[in-house]
Assembly symmetry: C2
Homo-oligomer: 207 residues x 2
Amino acid sequence: MATPSKAGTKGVPREVRRQQLLEAATAEFGTRGYAAASLPAIAARVGVTKTLLHQYFGTKEDLYVACLVPVGDTLLAAIRSAMGPDAAAPHTPLRVLDGIFAALEGRRESWFVLYDPSLPPGGEAAGRAAEYRSAIDRLAAGGTADVLRATGSADPLDADALNHVWQDLVATLVRWWVKHPEQTPQAMTERCSRLFAAAALLVPGTP
Amino acid sequence: MATPSKAGTKGVPREVRRQQLLEAATAEFGTRGYAAASLPAIAARVGVTKTLLHQYFGTKEDLYVACLVPVGDTLLAAIRSAMGPDAAAPHTPLRVLDGIFAALEGRRESWFVLYDPSLPPGGEAAGRAAEYRSAIDRLAAGGTADVLRATGSADPLDADALNHVWQDLVATLVRWWVKHPEQTPQAMTERCSRLFAAAALLVPGTP
DNA sequence: GCAGTAATTTACCTGACGGTAAATTACCTA
DNA sequence: TAGGTAATTTACCGTCAGGTAAATTACTGC
């Protein structure tokens, strides 16, 4: 037996493997980003070959979309339910954060597959991700617009900028959370509450 | 003449070419990030071959460092001068932003070469970038710590998180600025001032 | 016990990138 | 005007990624 070939089934049923690969891919995409994530690396996480990955999910973009959809659906639902009917209430931002943290627990890095800047432009992956993002955008825009109107500013560019700031703020908090695995979702929400209060002090002349 | 070879000098003096290549590389690194930036693409911006790039700057990491140093020095100086002696003054954040915007005008994307997450870990590039970042970190930490102490929170994790939030906020604003080239630095500073005021309204119970 | 099928790998192709050695052309000066 | 040198390209190599076709093994029901 010069070549003890390792081909052949390992007895892992299709659905199980599929789930394993999906999780590995989501983690890899979430931490490294689409462009830097490599199919061999993802497959290696599960102890398997990249060919198998292709057989299960097709092309790299297909695999990304397969990862994206559940993440996007989950997050969108969480945010929708957290915003509720009165999007302009002052406590809404914290509720949204709390909803996101809860939805992300156990798969924290998956937030970043939704906001991956390295997706090949024009492809299906970028398109689907953009859809999810703009859905979230619309929700957030409602909140930020109300807030801005309350300060008297009607500048649409201000609104756009504030929207970006808010969403990147969420990303920052999640990124910090990923680096502190021992922090529970509730602890994060409380920390955010304190940070908000501190940030308010930075602003001079609050009427 | 079957092969009209295009080799040979084009009469561009060394220093000029060097500067052209540096600018092109900085732009490419700043927009695409280190990993996604390709030497052929950088060279093509100047209408030249990647080999020339190597001859001028050596390896890809060497080129990155060559881009990093002037950017880092400029920004560090701008931030230092903006913070001045009283880092805890409530108007300091805006002054820092103003300083950064002014220093970045004309090369806005260069901010992101300093905060490139795709640098090969362990290499010289990552090391040098980390030095610049931690220098800025120390400056920012002074400000955020004072602010936090004023709210009564002594939690070091809060301080760390606030620091991250602040620095990512800067990145977000610069990114937004890059996407709106017509905005002047002063306009950006004023916009930030309005946004700060709006954000303060989000926080309930400001004493 | 045997055939069929499900699960998986081996082997291979293509393309791009980082990197290097050698050749090529244009400029400048004696 | 001839030779040297500065500026630049051509041609090439190794590596690794994405992707596909074909072979290989293990499980399963009859």
